[in-house]
Amino acid sequence: MTLGLPLFISFLALALSVAVGYRRPRTWLALTVTGTVAGLVAAVYVLLSGDRWEWQSDFLLGGEALRLRLDGLSALFLLLVAVVGGAGAVYSHEYWSDEHNPASAPRGRVWWSSLLLSMGLVLTVANGLHFLIAWELFALCGYFLITLDRRRSGVRAAGWLYLVASHAGTMCLFAFFGLLAAHTGSWELGPLRERGELAPLFWLALIGFGLKAGFFPLHIWLPSAHANAPSHVSAIMSGVAIKMGVYGILRFSGWLPVPAAAGWVVVSLGAVSALLGIAFAFAQNDFKRLLAYCSVENIGIIMIGVGIALLAVSHDDAPWGRLALAGALLHVWNHGAFKSLLFFGAGSVLHATGTRELSRLGGLARNMPWTAGLFALGILAVAGLPPLNGFVSEWLIYLGLFDVATGKGALAWIAMPAAVMLAMAGAIALASFAKAGAMIFLGAPRTQPAARAHECGYWMRGPMLGLAAVCGIIGLAPVLFWPAISEAVACWRPVWGLGEPPAPLAMLGSAQVTLAIIILAAAVWLWRKSRDNGLRRGLTWDCAYAVPTARMQYTSASFAGIVAGWFRWLMLPERTVHRPHGYFPASAIRLERVPETVLERVLAPVGNLVMHASHTALRLQHGRLQFYILYVVAGLIGIGLLVLWGGAQ
């Protein structure tokens, strides 16, 4: 019962917060933070002790008793939900407060707690029917959170797209759980690895959960939904909600047998998502869309790790599988932390300037030093640079890939291209975030709103600091987190069991700590030396250009121009150009828009074709009674002829 207590407190606190959220912001905040802290405690306990918590209800829900189970794998994701959920709640206290958004803030609080509750339920239910109920609740809470600011048409369209994609995934999940229940005879979920005929169900689970996780090409809803949602909602969606898809894939590939081709397909999808996702991100001029596409890339990285682990399972439980899966699970945490940090920073910028366009910002570091510094830390983490956490998880996955390559078997044919694509994706990620950070915070402000920006308050700074600290701690002391990750890995594949870190994490950790210390020392020393030598401020020399203006700075589209040109065949940008005329040109316009290729160039034409065909068929529906009776008679005669013809054979 010791584990049941924090979970019960968490549930009770969150349920109460749903009830009071509408009218009492402070009470809601206190209750939500209590709930998330209790959930955190429970998750940490499960991860460190290896215990498993199970509970069965007395009442029936839909004909089945409600059974909850919290084991290592669920606890890993529950911890992420708790941390980001709590941080987001604190952040929204100032970011989406009642003063600024009187209509939607009360609703937002209620739906936030409901989202946390439903995610917790998804992670703990052990019954197929209830999983579907919890999944649907989770999707609906997400929809209502995304469309908090319903007055803007972009937000409504984004919410609609999210809902449609979510339900397409749920449809696959209905098929998956239905078939599973039909084959096993009950809705109970548990390890069933010996039933070989269940293997093809993995593909259904991959598509269903993949639509939620958002890897290429199932990511079509992600950019618009995460860009148009309020920033704290984008943070939890990008950091946590899409990981629910990863949880689903992991959970059911651990419990059920998987087809032989599963690992290959997952690694390929992951590598393609990583490279193409970040290429799209680089070409975006809206910083929240950039962050959203970057989530696609990171889900790709996680998928690479999961795919390698699946390959290891079918190849005699090779040790590199454990490495890769550990890297993937750590990346789940890392991405949750740094992506939420980045979205909170983006929210701070949006709150201060009111615009998401990179070409309208600039020079915000002067007025918003905290946001700039924390965003820069987030950038270092997302680009996978030492000494932060992004590097550690990518390092683990790379090691897994390299170990596969040294094996020189058939598997190396997928590991080597994946490693190359991962490296390219990392380089493009560095470029994208150099662009984003530079365009927002460095240089001179390009427009008036950017010049008048103000720093965010303590309620928004606090969560950002907390998440930055998490990034730092995981980066500097990864060995501390190894037991928890190892517990989750052992939960996924008990044969692999716990053990020493298969990679020199301790050495890496100490190397990163040393690096961090030396960096700090060098930075302070150089600053001191420069000041002692004499620090003078002047206009940017700029090769002696006499009258520089803010508009002469490099724009975000120009920065990404070279790489966007390489990917032109995929991105198919739409361009509007009005060249300058005459000797003293008055105006020149160049507009370039990168559409969401899979949605607008593949799905939309197919949809238009279907609509066209339907309109043609609409001509049959004219309302004239006589023709309807004629259709009935024709049908009857047709059936009669069929019967005759069948009888004659």
Binding site: Q621, H622, G623, R624, L625, Q626, F627, I629, L630, V633, L644
Partner: protein, 214 residues
Amino acid sequence: MSGTLNLLIGLAMGLNLIALGSSRLPSLIRAMSLQGVLLGMMPLLMEHERLDWRVILVALATMAGKGVVIPTLLRRAMRAANIEREIQPFIGFVPSLLLGAGGTIAAVALARGLPLLPEHVGTLLVPGSLAAILTGFILLIGRAKAISQVCGYLILENGIYLFGLLLIHSTPLLVESGILLDVTVGVFIIGIIVDRIQRAFDSLDTRKLTTLRE
């Protein structure tokens, strides 16, 4: 016995053709009601060994209903709508006659191929019913005025009733009487509706009733 039966059914088939050919509504109603009376007599002929008061009651009720009640309702509706003729149907009178005749011949040919109980083999029950059903459909599809379509529906119902006579031993007559009741009530309601249509559109042309489309 089968001779009398065939005679009656032959008469019914002839009434089909009259219904198809007439453009005046009173004659259409009269043909339909006469057909109904003829068909109402059939159970008495088929069951003449085991005549029961129930069978007689149902037959009389059918004859009364189809021969008197329903035509009265229709004539009243017709007078209220103030129409006497079918003008410009979709399927013209000559084509519909030809279709009906062709269908009757096809029905007779088709019936030869169906597996029937030995006592029904020589009778015209199946061809008669198929012919009536076809006639009913032609009237439903081919005519524009609502009352003509109702008559077509009633002839269709006659055909189904005729087919049901094949099962007279197994189908309880309660079912048949139930169907009869439904039909009467239906026609009663249609009478009211026809009045309403007339008031709303100032005509009974069903081509105007296409607004509720999707």
